[in-house]
């Protein structure tokens, strides 16, 4: 009995700790979303919420259904592996209403440089140019056909282009 009296303060401390733990548990139940951890370390409901958002990208297969001429051009060059919307942007709305929603005209002087601007971190075999020296601000599609960008040797000699 005497021992109980001498450890009374520790028992009170233990009660305080238990109360704090209970507050933690209650707070956790109240604050953590119910679907948290359903599939992984995130809110399970987030999947449905993301799925419910409007689709922006149509996918290159849909583009190719109509633009067969472009597909034929792309097949002849290295850009065959580049998806249409990588350059033209999300086009789901254009697919839904091709008549009134038209893809924006692209400025190739800026667009092409995104991938092809010279940078020592890029692999050596990847085509790259210092645009300021190469074209001096001129739009790339002045000389290159974006869907099949390689200039044939005869045409290149004629244009005097340099890499």
């Amino acid at each position: 009995m005497n021992l109980f009296k001498d450890i009374e303060h520790l028992i009170r401390l233990a009660v305080v700790i238990v109360v704090l733990l209970l507050v933690f548990v209650v707070l956790r139940v109240a604050v953590v979303p119910h679907s948290f951890g359903e599939y992984g370390h995130y809110r399970g409901d987030a999947i449905q919420e993301v799925a419910a958002r409007p689709i922006s990208f149509a996918g290159h297969a849909v583009c190719e259904d109509c633009h067969t001429d472009v597909v034929d051009q792309k097949k002849l060059g290295k850009h065959v592996v580049v998806s249409c919307e990588a350059c033209h942007g999300a086009q789901a709305r254009h697919v839904e209403d091709p008549g009134s929603v038209k893809p924006a005209k692209l400025d190739t002087a800026i667009l092409c440089a995104r991938c092809h601007e010279a940078n020592s971190a890029k692999p050596k075999g990847f085509p790259q140019v210092a645009t300021a020296d190469h074209s001096a601000g001129l739009a790339c599609d002045t000389c290159h056909q974006p869907h099949r960008p390689k200039i044939e040797t005869a045409a290149k000699n004629e244009a005097g282009g340099r890499k």
Binding site: N2, D6, H9, L10, R12, F24, R28, H41, S120
Partner: protein, 398 residues
């Protein structure tokens, strides 16, 4: 603002993501761990000479621990999300483990040890104080005013056990901070298994130096005599720990020089240019070699008390500056070079922004403000440590 870049940097490397606040975080947690380890010297290893600093070391550790997460909060923004760290624990994230390491150290070690050590004083003050102070002390007693000899003996034993658990916990707290950097395998400046160990020893160095300085300063401010036996002993421990810390850092350096992997030339160039002042001059020469030499001098030459005190003061200040420079060189230095090893960027510290100099200074002053309040509430001085409580024997500081 144009950031000066030399050579080639990847686009995401030009601007530093971890600012001066992330320098403060390991610096502050280091002071916590170091101060606690100094306190444990008296409690566990029975080093009676350092007894006058025991309670001050505990309160210093608590003041700095309360501020330790603030630099992270300010850096991340969204303080309202900080609770999520505790509510949705995630064992696979090293960063998310901080919540557990921090809470364990704060709640299970530091607060418990301080409460048990001060309980006798708290009970006495709950009976002698008036007004709101009385209420605060009464709340801190949890409604039990039993300070019988047996109850205090139980507290003492429990406190000893908590300190025993506390020593590895202090190592864990700061070792964890070192681990955060040491485990970033993409960064050769950080990636080293020695990093947690170096962090622990540098933490001990900075914490011991900080408590020594605080003890000397507070004793002078109170118009009391500095216990020279106490500071002699602390300085001796500071020297020993510093020698181990410096040896470990040199071992790491020698290994890097001998190994000379693909990152070496780039890092070597960085140390000789951008980090020359902060690493070689401030950290190594001023902040490590000079205090070790000064402290070593007091061990081999017989000096007067006044000379020794001055040397300890100077060595302590240089040590704290040196450890801060070490944190700076780790955090900022690790972001100055490109992972391509072909270029270097520059860190420009803002002034009055969320992660600027002004906030950093404020965060460094804040623990001293908290310490002042704690010292007023729970005086750590040996001469005011024990108030007589009814039916209780006089109780020392241990």
């Amino acid at each position: 603002m144009q950031i000066p870049v030399e050579g080639f940097m990847y686009p995401n490397e030009v601007e530093l993501q971890w600012s001066v606040l992330i320098v403060l975080y390991p610096f502050i947690t280091g002071l916590v761990a170091g101060a606690f380890i100094l306190a444990s010297l008296e409690r566990v290893f029975r080093v009676q000479a350092v007894k006058p600093t025991y309670r001050l070391a505990l309160l210093t550790a608590l003041s700095f621990l309360l501020v330790a997460p603030l630099p992270l909060q300010l850096h991340l923004g969204h303080p309202e999300r900080s609770l999520e760290m505790y509510l949705t624990p995630h064992r696979s994230s090293a960063m998310a483990m901080f919540g557990f390491v921090y809470l364990w150290y704060l709640m299970a070690v530091l607060l418990l040890e301080i409460w048990l050590d001060y309980r006798h004083d708290i009970v006495a003050r709950s009976q002698s104080e008036k007004g709101w102070k009385r209420l605060v002390y009464r709340l801190l007693t949890f409604g039990s005013s039993n300070v019988s000899e047996r109850a205090l003996r139980i507290d003492e034993r429990l406190g000893y056990f908590i300190t025993l658990v506390g020593i590895p916990s202090a190592f864990l707290l700061h070792g964890y901070v070192g681990f955060i950097f040491g485990s970033v395998k993409a960064n050769p400046w950080w990636s080293s298994p020695l990093m947690p160990i170096v962090f622990v020893f540098s933490a001990m160095v900075s914490g011991i130096a900080a408590v020594m300085l605080l003890y000397m300063l507070s004793t002078r401010l109170r118009g009391q005599q500095i216990d020279i036996r106490c500071v002699d002993k602390i300085a001796q421990y500071l020297l020993y720990t510093f020698v181990i810390d410096f040896s470990l850092e040199m071992l790491d350096l020698i290994q890097r020089i001998y190994e000379a992997d693909e990152s070496f030339r780039s890092l070597d160039f960085m140390v000789h240019t951008r980090l020359w002042k902060s690493q070689v001059i401030i950290q190594i020469l001023l902040g490590t070699v000079t205090p070790i030499a000064l402290l070593g001098l007091t061990q081999v030459v017989k000096l007067t008390e006044t000379a020794r005190k001055r040397i300890y003061g100077l060595a302590g200040c240089l040590t704290v500056i040196g450890i801060f420079a070490m944190r700076w060189n780790v955090v900022i230095g690790g972001q100055l070079f490109s992972k391509s090893f072909l270029g270097y960027t520059t860190y420009k510290m803002a002034f009055a922004t969320r992660e600027g100099l002004l906030i950093a200074i404020g965060l460094m002053i804040l623990p001293f403000g908290i310490l002042w309040v704690l010292v007023k509430l729970l005086p750590p001085w040996p001469d005011s440590g024990s108030l007589p409580a009814s039916g209780a024997p006089a109780h020392g500081t241990s």
